[in-house]
Symmetry: C2
Subunit: 193 residues, 2 copies
DNA sequence: AAAAAATATCGACAAATGTCTACGCTGTAT
DNA sequence: ATACAGCGTAGACATTTGTCGATATTTTTT
């Protein structure tokens, strides 16, 4: 079964028929990108949101000193893109690149809106995703402002064990808002327990 | 003109008639709460989202040591509530209380869904708000993990000058994820500029 | 196989932040 | 008028985190 088909029906309450899925899929563009290649670069407008069929990606930004700050991590069945740029057609401040060779299904803003209005299951999916994302974002903010780095890491491992497997520690450190050295120290403490 | 009427028409593309607004308003419950009173307490289920007609409120959580961590600030024309609890009917981990005497318009999950399905302008409002909230949350996460406390504060003042007027520094410090002492130090630096 | 790049850890030191106590100021309640 | 609580700042000290250089190991490239 196609990963996207499975994914949509996992969210929607009214199941999508094979035919309807064909209609949905016809609005996506298949794309393979290699490790280190960009899906989006700072300054570009995010024209497509990408559903990750296979692979691992990250979204990050660069500070004045050229340091990378990882904002999001993605693996299979996640969506990669910069929402603000996608919705408002403004140049993005983020970079999105592939951490592993990846296979994506791209959809434009226009087709996204078309699918939402013409396919109720797809619309339902998007609404639920939005809700989920809002809740997840709230949790991440809460974690960032109220937890110690040690607890943030433990929380992260518990909630995203698949990320721990697929991204190196310095990427995870950046995602947690600390340096790789600090994460190394934190891990030493945590492992002792 | 009623603040909520003005607010909805500010977001919706198709304007709401006076009659339709009456229909919308009939699903809201008016409530006044005094400074320090709770709209929501940890452990409760968030049964209502509150549109703030007048006043100032905050959402925060308590850590093991009893310390408060401010997660959100609200003033007029903002919505106060815990989305996760509201949507999933789970006990909230947050507290929401009034920082100033406030007037709210409360709406239940049920009525919210009813309004969304029966009033297109209201639905449009909610969708746009969700989008806005998602984007704002992303920015706040980015700010938390990639900026120094000094820049976070400058960013905050620039983006939310009305908050600076209405909440004391120790509340703002908590919102930014630092102690009041640190914010005091940061401000001393910033003012020198 | 050899060379290069990426990764993780460590120690030493510096910088940032938290913690605690104290002080003065303000507005409010009594 | 007095007492009190809330607020912002300050200094001293402890803790955490960042920075930098070094190293060992692994992985990737040539």
């Amino acid at each position: 079964m196609h990963p996207l088909f499975h994914y949509i029906n996992n969210y929607a309450t009214t199941l999508l028929s094979k035919d309807d899925f064909g209609f949905v899929l016809s609005h996506f563009i298949s794309k393979k990108i290699r490790r280190r290649q960009y899906l989006l670069q700072e300054g570009e407008i995010c024209k497509y949101f990408g559903f990750i069929v296979k692979g691992a990606m990250r979204k990050y930004l660069l500070d004045e000193k050229g340091g990378e700050h990882v904002v999001d991590l993605y693996v299979e069945n996640w969506w990669a893109g910069d929402r603000e740029s996608f919705v408002r057609f403004t140049p993005s401040t983020y970079n999105i690149d592939a951490w592993e060779d990846s296979e994506l299904l791209l959809v434009s803003r226009e087709d996204m809106l078309k699918l939402r209005s013409e396919c109720p299951s797809f619309n339902e999916l998007v609404l639920k995703l939005d809700e989920y994302n809002n809740i997840a974002a709230q949790k991440r903010i809460t974690s960032a402002i109220s937890l110690t780095s040690e607890k943030r890491y433990e929380d992260f491992v518990e909630r995203h064990p698949y990320f721990v497997q697929r991204f190196p520690q310095h990427i995870i450190a950046s995602y947690l808002g600390v340096t790789k050295d600090t994460l190394s120290r934190v891990r030493k403490k945590v492992i002792k327990k």
